[in-house]
Subunit: 208 residues, 2 copies
């Protein structure tokens, strides 16, 4: 009987994995350009590369740096403007713009979600996670299982409730974004290409 | 030799398929509650069910009615407020809140994207499509193929360019949302559960 030894493939860096975010941020009442400019200015020196067009700001870097930046900028904008709404789009595992090629034997290193500093700002989010798992011959994908696992992880961070098409998260902004981050990275443990979308309302006045 | 006749399964209605949208809409400068209230008031009598919380408005109905409503409300808000940013989340094929059960033999009826009336409003969107195709034993999923087909369909409707994590769409708001809709419905021809996200900036002032 012969033994086949499989050599583990390369461990992928955040750059190999195409890690990054797109952030769109709007004040509920006030001037977008002013609020965004002031919020971004407070993030000088953070370890990310950014670039903006009229729709969103692209944020590139390692997982924890991207998440710390997104958290910092949303909190800063809410402190400037009171009530802000952000759309956060996190991506990992699709390094190209169109194709998503990764070596088949690549090792998906597990990355812990960073501890985001508490803000004192109340947030509510509609969160959706997309583990883009095609499966392999003899091994169908199971994106719902990865979603259920991520929701279980999110429950340890924020208040979770089910809504149509999304999971609602409530808590301090740090808890809400921490739950989004932890769910995204938990799914990325087993699935190469995982995307999360969250629309986050911060500092909304209580409903009358 | 025996012949196995397979009986086609039930043809699914929009309700069976859990068709709907979530819409978050913000003016770039102005009061959110005022703008959203005025925009929604112009949509009275449209054939959808809506319900809002502080994060988004849930829109339920048939595919064309949902898309006509989303288009109408974004255009109305841009006419009130000038520059608005919307996040549009379209879903089809996951009728439950957590589980996505559909009969295995269910027929996916093809639905054409509706003709959205031209607005004269310039729009730019960051669009992402998620065909959540797990594959089956002996038949792996191929979500990138469904995405490439949808992008080809979008090219017939709007100006398309590749960006990191998203496809950028430019044109009249009707062309941009028409491209999002047509790509979503094209992917839904072969994949049961298809989600589209688009962040759309309408009436943005030219960049200085």
């Amino acid at each position: 009987m012969s033994t086949v030894t499989s050599t583990p493939g390369p461990t992928l860096t955040p750059t190999d994995l195409g890690v990054g975010a797109r952030l769109t941020l709007l004040p509920a009442d006030g001037d977008l350009v002013d609020v965004l400019g002031r919020a971004l200015a407070t993030a000088d020196g953070m370890r990310v590369e950014i670039g903006s067009d009229e729709v969103s700001t692209l944020v590139r870097g390692a997982e924890d740096d991207v998440l710390l930046f997104v958290h910092h900028v949303i909190a800063a904008a809410a402190r400037v403007a009171g009530h802000v709404v952000a759309h956060v789009h996190l991506s990992r595992g699709c390094p190209g713009e169109v194709a998503c090629g990764l070596p088949d034997d690549a090792v998906l290193a597990y990355v812990d979600a960073p501890e985001l500093p508490a803000t004192g700002l109340r947030a509510a989010a509609h969160w959706a996670l997309y583990p883009l798992d095609d499966g392999r011959p003899g091994h169908p994908g199971d994106h719902m299982r990865a979603i259920e696992q991520a929701v279980a992880v999110a429950r340890t961070r924020a208040t979770v409730s089910s809504e149509r098409f999304v999971t609602r998260l409530d808590g301090d902004l740090a808890e809400v974004l921490g739950a989004v981050a932890a769910g995204w990275l938990a799914a990325g443990r087993h699935v190469r290409h995982v995307v999360a979308h969250a629309t986050v309302s911060v500092g909304s006045p209580p409903r009358r």
